[in-house]
Structure formats: C-alpha cells, structure tokens
Symmetry: C2
Subunit: 226 residues, 2 copies
DNA sequence: GTCTATAACCGGATAGAC
DNA sequence: GTCTATCCGGTTATAGAC
C-alpha cells in the first residue's frame, strides 16, 4: 500500500522529496476517488438519502476514512457541488468562440449535451440542489451565473439587432437550451424506459443532439437568402 | 370541531346518513390537506429530507395524526406521486384535440406550462423521483407513459408524412417540450435569481410560454405557402 | 378521532487502538 | 493514515390516555 520507492536513489534529499510528493498525490487520489463516488451516491439518493457509510463502501473504505478526508458530509457535498459548477462554467465558454449565432449556439448545445452524456450525476446533483432552493448555491446564482447570463444576453441582443436572429428573449432561449440538454442527464431513467429499457446508443444520442440543434437554429436564427 | 348538524331534522335516518357523509367528507378534507402540504415538503426537501413532523406542523397537526391518515411516510409519498402522474396525464390530453401540428403542439405546450405555473411542487417531486431512478415509478414509465408516447409518435409521424412537419424524431421532440416546460417549475429558484430575485410576473411568464411555442413551431412545423 | 409519550432504529461524527 | 467501537441526536412508528 505504501508507495514503492527505489532503493537505488543516490540522494537522500531527493528520496525524501519523492515521498512527500507521493503522499500528497496519494491524498489527492483519495479525495478524487471519494468525490467521484460521492457524486454518484448523492445523485442517486439526494443529500439526505445518501449515507456516509454507502459512500465509503463504494470507495472501498470504512466511513471513518471519509471523515478523515472531509470533515463532514455537508463539506463533502459542497465540494461535489463546486466541481459541478466549475465543469458547467468550463463548458459554457463554448458560447464565446464564434461571432455567429448558428455556430455559437451549435457549439454550446453540443458542449452541454456532451456534459449530460459524460457526467449525468453531476447534472442530477445540481438539479436537485436548485430544486431545493437552498442557500448553498445562492451566491453562485447571484454572482457568476448572473454575470455569465448577462454577458450572453448582450451578444444575443446584438445578433438580433444585426438581423441574424429573430427577436427573442435571450434568457428564455437560454433556459430552453439548458432544459433540453440537461434533460438527457436528469431524466435518463425515463429516457431509458422509453427506449425499450436500453440506454441511448451513441448514434441515438447524436440524433438527439442534432434534433435540439436543428429545432433551436430553425427556431431563432435568420439565414441570409442570397 | 364536530360537524354542525341541524336539530330540526325530522328523520333520524337522514340525520345519521348526514353524519356519515360528513365524517367521510371530513376525512377526505384531512387527506387532501395533508397531501397538499406533503407535496410541498417533499418538493422542498426530497423524500429522505422531509420529515413527518414537518408535514404535520405545516398541516397544523401532530405527526401521529399523519400516521392516522396514511399508514407510513412511504405510502403518503406514493400517493403524492400518483396525484402528480394523474395531473400530468390529464394535461397531456391537450395533445389530442386538434388534427393540426401547430394547434396541437401549442395547446400541449401551454397546458404543460400552466401546470408548471400552478403546481411547481408536483413537478419537482416527479423530477426527483425520476432522477433517483427508483422502482416506484417504473411501472408507470413502462405502461401508461410508454403507451401515451407511442400513440403520440404515430400522430407526429403522420404529420411528417403529410408534409405538415419537418422530419424529426418524435421522442426527441417530446423530450424537448417536456424539458423546456418543466424547467420553469423544477428550476424556479434559478429563474427567480436571474430575474432580480423576483418571481416571473404573469406577463413574463406568458412571454416565456410564447418563446417556447414559437421556437418549437418554427423549428418543426411546415406552413403552406399559398 | 386526536394527541402525548415512548419505543426502536439509524446515521453522522469521534475516540482511540493500531 | 487507517479502522473498530461507540456516542448522541434525530426520525419513524406506535401505544395508550383522552
């Protein structure tokens, strides 16, 4: 279990540093593993339904070890939540990469859909927390998210002024995109049930993606007709 | 607290019947009140986070009374869920009233949006349950919901054949409508935060409704160009 | 039917050995 | 750092007085 350190190392100082780094890395690995399974367990049972014992069991540890890495269940949950927010903001940068509504919206929708595919549990934890309306996320809603939305509104309104988009309320358009993409994570159970109890294949998922892209683009974008 | 019964009643039998009905009604009222506040509390805290004590307090009763009306927390929760499903199926009949995609989709979206406006808590409880992916709703997903979706697919595909709609996967279109409309219930906290911490006014909500209707219609409906 | 008091249980957190 | 044993608060459910 202890890190394997070569006995051939000439410099003791170097060996010591090696061990230090290794321990830090191991701690990091422990945290990462716990965060990963915690996201799963919180998504499956909600904050109150999830138990530290189960998180431990999924990580192959007794629950006392969880408390060694994270002082409390609440703190662990907040870390999971923060990681989801970071991920979300990362994906939302896709919006900025083009000065053309069709390209920007397509890239953004695809990025959000990929997140729903790869991190459905993160999306569920987030959805849950928002539905509860608790104070844990109020700060984020009123600062980073608010700012991001306002900056996107400026862009969308500019596209509308230029005649590249039909006049549409930017916020309600964003809500439609968030809802349509996150649905594939938050409601995956329902989608599976309606797909003969099989998860969507990659092909089906791509079809779902382009369905959303097409509807949104045809719904709001004005194309030049030369 | 006991029902007021007129002393002028001539027939004892009638009086007795009156009392019987009245008691039944009172029991019904008790159940309805509890179901109403239970939906609220379950929506706010989730199944495990909600406590029978709080449900009782919100209904002005000690928790033992809740157990008098509903044998367990689990049973009460299931009743709340069933009521939400019934409501959902009721609204979904709006889809059937027209043999024209634009009219049908508009009516359906409006009905779903009205539900999000009037019963956001029901929507949250449902969303939560689906996200958990538990067995409580599996039967419904695999029977009534599946059948409803399949029958709608037939209609949508017919509209496509007739050239009234662009070729689009019916299921993915339905998911987009569900997601976009339910979002206004499930994510109301987020929407409020992004609206200067004020709930959407009736005017704003109508604007959101027509935003969804317009995007979906322009996204999928083909209009005759005479 | 309604309410108080209590039983039985469970989960988060910690003490302390290793 | 890791794990076992334990404490303590809170929750469901019920017994039993009124």
């Amino acid at each position: 279990m202890t890190p394997v350190v070569s006995h051939h190392l000439t410099y003791l100082a170097r060996e010591k540093q090696q061990i230090t780094i290794s321990n830090a890395q191991r701690r990091q690995q422990g945290e990462d593993l716990i965060l990963k399974v915690a996201e799963e367990v919180f998504a499956k049972h909600g904050f109150h339904g999830a138990t530290v014992t189960e998180i431990g069991k999924c990580a192959g540890l007794p629950k006392a070890n969880i408390h060694y890495y994270f002082s409390s269940k609440e703190k662990l949950y907040q870390r999971v939540l923060e990681d989801v927010i970071d991920l979300w903001l990362e994906a939302s940068q896709q919006f900025e990469d083009f000065d053309d509504p069709a390209k920007s919206l397509t890239a953004y929708i695809n990025a959000k859909m990929d997140l729903s595919r790869t991190r459905p549990n993160g999306s569920k934890v987030w959805a849950n927390e928002v539905a509860r309306g608790g104070s844990r996320i109020q700060t984020h809603l009123n600062t980073r998210l608010k700012q991001w939305v306002e900056s996107r509104e400026v862009w969308i309104n500019r596209w509308i002024e230029r005649g590249q988009m039909r006049p549409v309320n930017a916020k309600y358009l964003l809500y439609m995109i968030w809802a349509s993409t996150q649905h594939y994570a938050d409601f995956d159970t329902q989608i599976i049930a309606l797909n003969n109890n099989k998860p969507l294949s990659d092909e089906q998922f791509e079809e779902a993606k382009s369905c959303i892209v097409e509807v949104i683009l045809k719904g709001v974008v004005i194309y030049d007709n030369p």
